[in-house]
């Protein structure tokens, strides 16, 4: 019996707070350690190893050391791009690590009328791995549509299909607005489908397919993920045993820290009473050594939302030994100020909603731009977020940003126009 570990959505470098960034990295190290202790023959990371295609160099350095440690143990790591580490010019950190021989990218197209994919054969186990990368807004759907499924289905052996997309049928109801791909676009009958992108774990046994598995986020990249952690969502990776077929995958919980979730509904209270309620609520929770996710929601009957002093709440909780405190007050409003409704708690969805609202108010004749404008803007924003890399000259950085923006927008600005 062979074994492999299936991780996804590590999002290294996502957290900005040093303490959370440390925990994020710790989760990654713990998962690798646990997999090695379980004598895996290889590992799969189904996209979004990093939070950005050119991440912070400190993050890269630490991740590389960990990945090399695994490789030095004789355990290969197979990866694809996730929507976050995707690069239209194959210059993602994933590519650099692959060039350095630390990981192996398994998305390898075969030229032809249809999109053929070459299998990467794991030397030790003979497992055949292939798949597709993820792109933002499920743009990879075009690849799926053109995929030569028959060729993949005709291959024999233990086959793993790696992907980084939500599958329509398995989207949780609260992810309904997420772009997704129907299962009928996937090749049938493969022995294992290693998924990423959905930040919630799930293992689906569908007739005619091997297990379709999402490990979910390893730690969580958004406040919403961390809030889910605090509400009891278990994070980790899947350990899979196989010979001809995969046995039911086993979920391995990785918990780098204890979380505590506190929610306080202040509806109908004035800001003073709300503060008292918050104090009372805090008193009922043991926060020592924990990451505390504090959610304040509801409509104050009077007073300003700024009367609810986040700094004070943070100090209070830290004085009681809280390790990290994150306060979510998106759902907090007051009758005195015009209500601003924000339905999304995840940043990309929020950004997209804002762009969509803005687009609706702009007179644009280009219909495709009206349709795709929001995704284009979000994708562009992602590129513009990339910071200057250590050692990179300002001119090089500018050129890189422009090239990436050109790739996103599908335009080619010559030098004269820059």
């Amino acid at each position: 019996m062979y074994r492999f570990a299936h991780l996804s959505d590590c999002h290294l470098g996502a957290q900005k707070q040093p303490e959370l960034r440390e925990l994020e990295f710790q989760a990654f190290r713990m998962a690798l350690d646990d997999a090695l202790e379980n004598n895996v023959d290889f590992m799969i990371i189904a996209g979004d190893l990093f939070h950005s295609n050119i991440p912070n160099m400190e993050t890269v350095k630490r991740a590389t050391l960990e990945l090399r440690r695994v490789r030095d143990e004789g355990v290969p790591i197979y990866v694809n791009y996730g929507s976050h580490d995707y690069s239209p010019s194959n210059t993602s950190m994933i590519d650099i690590l692959e060039t350095a021989g630390v990981i192996e990218k398994v998305v390898r197209p075969i030229p032809g009328k249809k999109l053929g994919l070459e299998f990467t054969v794991d030397e030790k186990t003979g497992a055949k791995i292939t798949g597709l990368s993820g792109r933002s807004r499920a743009l990879e759907v075009d690849y799926f549509r053109n995929l030569d499924r028959e060729a993949l289905e005709a291959e024999d052996g233990f086959r793993i299909f790696l992907f980084h997309s939500a599958i329509t049928q398995f989207k949780p109801v609260d992810f309904a607005e997420m772009d997704s791909i129907d299962l009928n676009l996937f090749p049938r009958g493969l022995e294992y489908y290693a998924g990423g992108h959905l930040h919630r774990r799930g293992c689906y046994l569908e007739e005619g397919y091997g297990p379709i598995v999402y490990p979910g986020a390893l730690f969580g990249s958004y406040a919403g993920d961390l809030e889910e952690n605090a509400r009891g969502e278990e994070r980790g990776y899947y350990l899979v045993e196989f010979r001809e077929k995969a046995k039911t995958p086993q979920f391995r919980v990785i918990r780098p820290a204890e979380f505590e979730y506190i929610e306080c509904d202040v509806t109908g209270k004035n800001s003073q009473d709300a503060s008292l309620l918050i104090r009372k609520e805090m008193g009922e929770h043991d926060v020592k050594g924990k990451v505390v996710m504090f959610k304040i929601r509801g409509e104050l009957s009077s007073g300003r939302t700024s009367d609810i002093d986040s700094a004070w709440i943070r100090r209070e909780l830290e004085s009681r030994g809280a390790r990290v405190v994150q306060i979510n007050r998106h759902g907090l409003s007051t009758r005195e100020i015009q209500k601003v409704r924000v339905a999304e708690s995840e940043i990309p969805a929020l950004e997209r909603r804002i762009f969509r609202e803005k687009l609706a108010g702009v007179d644009i004749r280009n219909k495709s731009l009206m349709k795709r404008g929001d995704s284009l803007a979000v994708e562009l924003l992602r590129k513009l977020e990339n910071e200057i890399a250590p050692g990179e000259k300002k001119e090089e950085y500018e050129r890189r940003v422009i090239e990436e923006a050109e790739a996103v927008m599908g335009v080619n600005l010559d030098d004269d126009n820059r």
């Binding site: 690849y143 989207k171 949780p172 607005e177 609706a360």
Partner: protein, 507 residues
């Protein structure tokens, strides 16, 4: 001016026109009498007339039939024997403005056949849904006929016809226009899987990419129809599946106790103290038969026949479909593999979700920014029939028929049997696209509930050929006769080029 005839008498309801001998006039022909603008008349009936007494005609016929042919012929037969057309003035046009005719055209006035220019007032609306071209008898004019999608859909559309008269073809032609618009979302519940066109011409070929297809067995590019049992609520079954009072109470108890897992618990046979075992057994059987979900006694797992209603997966399908509709897309749901009730249930769940959303949008003032939603329902009496409503109470479709307009939701109801639908519902269907119908009772119901006076169109409706229709709507000045093009030919004539883009692979 090529003369087709001359007005020789009659009254407001039936102007008598003598037909010119070499200009045969047909039932339904549109004729024009000029004078102070012009009046459009429609031929409702045709009769023989002769100057020769009946006895003489019978004698002449005897000569012919019995072999005494010789030179037996009437003197100037085109003068002595002729056809009288009974025509009704349907519209008067003065200075390009159409108005209902309130006076007769000039006596002894010559009439001519209608030309395209005479119908210049039929303008293209802002949100045009193409129905076909104006028809004069069996001749087809160049003038296209449109209805405004937003007006017509929110005021409901009825498409009555007997089988084989081109209902599906008409709906496909209409949907083709609608697929170009982002201000209208259409839900098409397709019990015969004929609209998308898996293997033949269908809406799936629309170049806009605005047609979304759901099927239990979706082809590549379509979406698999799967609905999680947790998405079903007791109210979705209201008026769709008849439950006894005891069963309804049991359902309410399971729902109160287990919330969204209520069906799962029933199927698992989980007992509740105040629900009789026999009631639970019946409910399990009902869900087995209708939804195809049952408990596999060997594994203890809930299994799904057909895979549509299921315990795992399909959680976001209803929200996804509602989202597509809100994006102004056409969603075709293939229900051909479902039992009748299950098909209606699928429609009920989706329509219920849309209705609920739009009620909310109205209360928050967002409704005007949302597209209008139309729901195409085949064999409408299954949910809008008098008996069904009386026996099972109102369902989401009858609610939409009554109240949908307030929330910008409308029905496109297709039926062979109009007589089964209550008058109150028919009266709310403000556009009727009437195709051929041989059944006198059905014609009477259609005529009785039409937006224009079609009292003398009984024969015309009976004689409508395949693809011929009469559009009677509060949004048209008169009942417009149309010829609907064959869908396959129609989509070839629209200048949509196939976009065959090469995909550059990066991954």
């Amino acid at each position: 001016m090529e003369i087709a005839g001359q007005i020789i008498g009659g009254e407001t309801a039936a102007v008598l026109i003598r037909q010119k001998s070499d200009e045969p006039v047909e039932l339904g022909d549109l004729l024009v009498a000029e004078g102070d603008g012009y009046t459009i008349l429609q031929v409702k009936d045709l009769k023989y007339r002769s100057q020769i007494p009946q006895g003489m005609r019978e004698l002449a016929s005897g000569f012919n039939l019995e072999g005494y042919r010789g030179d037996v012929e009437f003197l100037e037969p085109e003068l002595r024997n002729y056809i009288i057309a009974e025509a009704r003035p349907i519209l008067h046009v003065r200075n390009g403005e159409p108005m209902l005719p309130k006076r007769l055209p000039g006596f002894f006035r010559e009439v001519r056949r209608i030309r395209d220019g005479d119908l210049a007032f039929l303008e293209k609306p802002r949100n045009p849904v193409f129905l076909g071209n104006v028809r004069s008898g069996s001749k087809v004019l160049e003038t296209p006929v449109y209805i405004d999608a937003l007006d017509a859909i929110t005021h409901h559309i009825l498409i009555p016809a007997t089988t084989g008269r081109g209902k599906s073809n008409l709906v496909k032609v209409m949907l083709w226009s609608l697929a170009d618009m982002d201000r209208v979302g259409m839900l098409v519940l397709d019990p015969h899987d004929e609209y998308y066109g898996r293997n033949e011409a269908g809406l799936g070929k629309h170049p806009s990419g605005n047609v979304v297809y759901y099927s239990p067995d979706a082809p590549v590019g379509g979406n698999t129809l799967s609905i999680n049992l947790r998405a079903l609520r007791p109210e979705h079954f209201e008026g769709i599946i008849p439950f006894t009072q005891a069963q309804e109470q049991a359902i309410a108890k399971y729902h109160n106790c287990y919330k969204e897992r209520w069906i799962i618990k029933i199927v698992e046979g989980e007992k509740l103290s105040d629900v009789k075992s026999v009631t639970l057994s019946v409910l399990r059987r009902v869900f087995d038969v209708i939804l195809g979900v049952y408990l596999d006694e060997d594994t203890g797992e809930i299994k799904s026949r057909g895979g549509v209603f299921r315990d795992v997966g399909g959680e976001s399908t209803i929200k996804d479909i509602a989202g597509h509709l809100e994006d102004g897309k056409i969603v075709v749901v293939d229900t051909s593999r479902l039992m009748g009730e299950a098909e209606l249930l699928v429609g009920s769940v989706i329509s219920g979700e849309i209705f609920r959303r739009y009620q909310k949008y109205k209360s928050t003032g967002e409704l005007r920014r949302k597209p209008v939603i139309g729901i195409v329902i085949e064999e409408a009496p299954r949910v809008l029939g008098k008996e069904v409503i009386e026996r099972q109470g109102n369902n989401i479709y009858s609610t939409i028929a009554r109240e949908g307009r307030k929330f910008n939701i409308g029905l496109v109801a297709i039926t062979q049997l109009v007589s089964l639908i209550p008058r109150t519902v028919l009266a709310n269907m403000n556009t009727k696209i009437i195709l051929g119908n041989e059944m006198a009772q059905e014609r009477a119901e259609i005529i009785g509930s039409a937006s224009q006076d079609l009292s003398d169109d009984n024969r015309a409706i009976a004689s409508l050929d395949k693809g011929e229709a009469i559009v009677s709507s509060i949004f048209t000045k008169f009942a417009v006769p149309v010829k609907i093009p064959l869908f396959e030919e129609f989509i070839e004539s629209t200048d949509h080029e196939d976009e065959d883009e090469d995909i550059e692979f990066i991954g």
